[in-house]
Subunit: 395 residues, 2 copies
């Protein structure tokens, strides 16, 4: 029998407990012996809740219990979660988590501790929720040079943009609806301003390019600047506006990474990813383009990935290579403003000189799609025009 | 240094040699030491071709060389490929393959030998080509009860159907074009009649439901019966016709599995999978629906998966659970004709009595979508009508 502990029993933690109970037979089949939840570390009073009999408040019970082989961290943030994860690893227990902030900010250190202690630190659920993504990247695509990775990794903003595109809502009313449905928090900053996507992108870039990318080094532009005029113009041009986490290899073993709204061709699969769903596309030099789609959040999908990681820590042997990446190399990270892209520009009095490929005008505004150029070239080209929005176009 | 052998150097084998050469640095990073190709076993005269210096004709060189830790089988079929794979496993070498016929027909036996010998038999490339699919299924989704798996697993037929849908071509001219472009063989039977998809479906069903499903027990209907009238009617109803490999859990620990054209909602991601691309959707009781998309065939994408499997055989330790499934349990496989589905029916003089939800008529024919019913109920309902086509509707 394998015994595990759960840290935190909020939405995700409760999902983990439920998946472990309901799918116990599948877990046992996968590992070859029963897998049981021994403790739930939670400060809240859980009297009357399911699994209340497993609740303890003292983490050191877990830390000092030799029967516990793995710990699922579902607390969130980098305060107590960081402390407990570190202590669990140092106590020789594998740790799995869905905590993107923890992985993005402290992943390098925690992976080093795990390696030193001969245990695992896994985080499949930290990007794309239940979608199998991190293991396919590190494992199934390991024969490739990864050239590009991009996708929709935040369900809240995708819901808002989908409402704007499909129902003609403006940002404010779409946000209110998302809040009413529980898809957005009362303070929506982390989602709407791209901070959540930024953390997830850092994890993807760490894995794909092999050196640590701290979140503060990655530009994140959210969706507050996307207007109904933009979604309508984009639609006429054959595109949908999506908030993308985007990273791409550039010349000289460098790469660029940023979060920003982009125009995505309507016929592409990414444009068809609606509501709160997530999808990530990967381009490798052998495999070409792959795409992974599914529920990027929610109690049960996230728990699906966390529990799979728990099983993985039990199943694997000593010979396995640990997931890892190296320390930050600032010189490898290219500023996206200096990398050429095609642009969508909406402005007043500016399209004429823009060498635009496609141009539309309406209501005193015009919009156009440009040839590939850097942000600096774009500014020169549009000197004198009043730029209202500018977004990159995904090729 | 890890040394491997390649069996067969046709389209896929040449891709494997090329990926190993071009991406050598990524392979070494993944495994922690260089990975080199020592032999290519090939009967053809390869003088002047790249890698000709590695070509040998005698398999026993590989079999008896203790330096060879893993073998990639790229011969195809179940003749000599089966013999060599069996001998390689018995000689204590791990084997990886993209050969769906071999895995579908002999997988159970070969996995048993691999387990006994403590080596690996891996086949990520056998379904969906380069798309990470089998490892995500067996690993990342291992905390789920898999309820349904379905998708587009044959690029040739998807290309033909895409041409029929988008360009209004009929089956014969679309097939000719596919042959001209090299997407279909001179004898297109295995693709067009669903046999290739049937083999792949068996592998997916083996993995998802845990008992061996021999190909001859799975109904396969190809696309010869899909007409322009069907693709046009479907379009008007808001659907696209796709050849799906489909398996679903039904009551009493049973499941059904079949290959047949189905109507897929136009807004769904599957409907957007065009040309020769593949995509497979999985529904698990925790994760909900996931989808995996990419190139399902071709030299380099298939090689991407084969080489990743090779790396996996080197990377993993003794504690890992082997992929496996149990022997056939005929009583678990439910006949799809007895499982209720919604239907699309095109007929003469029949829709009136069909309790149809949606109905269209044109040119003396009519078509309709029914409520869920079994194939037998459908026949009763349409007694007296001349049924021209009937396809299930994907929900």
């Amino acid at each position: 029998m394998k015994q595990v502990a759960l840290l935190g029993c909020g939405t995700v933690g409760a999902g983990v407990a439920r998946v472990m109970a309901e799918n116990a037979a599948y877990l046992e089949k996968s590992v070859g012996e029963p897998v049981t939840l021994k403790y739930i570390v939670e400060k809240r009073d859980c009297t009357g809740e399911p699994y209340a009999d497993k609740v303890v408040t003292d983490f050191s019970l877990v830390e000092n219990d030799p029967e516990i082989c793995a710990v699922a961290e579902c607390i969130g943030g980098v305060g107590v979660a960081y402390e407990f994860v570190r202590r669990a690893l140092l106590a020789g227990k594998s740790v799995v988590t869905s905590n993107k902030q923890l992985v993005a900010e402290k992943g390098l250190e925690l992976l080093d501790i795990a390696r030193e202690k001969g245990v695992y630190f896994l985080f499949e659920a930290s990007v794309g929720g239940g979608i199998p993504l991190i293991r396919p990247l590190t494992n199934c695509l390991s024969a490739n040079r990864i050239d590009q990775i991009f996708g929709i990794v935040n369900g809240t903003t995708n819901y808002i943009l989908t409402q704007m595109i499909e129902c003609g809502q403006d940002f404010d009313s779409a946000l209110k609806e998302a809040q009413r449905l529980g898809y957005a928090e009362a303070d929506p900053t982390a989602d709407v301003d791209g901070i959540d996507a930024q953390r997830k992108l850092c994890i993807l870039a760490d894995l794909c390019f092999g050196s640590n990318v701290p979140p503060e080094r990655v530009r994140a532009e959210g969706i507050r600047g996307v207007t109904r005029a933009d979604t309508a113009f984009a639609d006429k041009l054959g595109y949908a506006v999506k908030l993308l986490a985007y990273a791409k290899r550039v010349e000289g073993d460098r790469f660029t990474a940023f979060v920003a709204p982009q125009l995505v061709k309507k016929e592409s699969l990414l444009a068809g990813v609606g509501g709160v769903m997530n999808a990530v596309a990967v381009r490798g030099n052998a495999v070409g383009e792959c795409l992974f789609y599914g529920a990027g959040a929610g109690s049960m999908p996230t728990a699906s990935a966390i529990v799979a990681d728990l099983l993985d820590t039990m199943r694997r042997g000593a010979g396995r290579t640990y997931i890892h990446w190296g320390p930050e190399k600032p010189e490898r990270l290219a500023d996206p403003e200096g990398v050429p892209f095609r642009w969508y520009v909406r402005c007043r009095n500016g399209c004429i000189n823009a060498l635009a490929e496609q141009c539309l005008s309406d209501n005193g505004e015009c919009c156009c799609l440009t040839a590939p150029m850097t942000a600096r070239e774009l500014e020169e080209r549009f000197a004198g025009a009043e730029i209202l929005s500018r977004f990159r176009v995904l090729d």
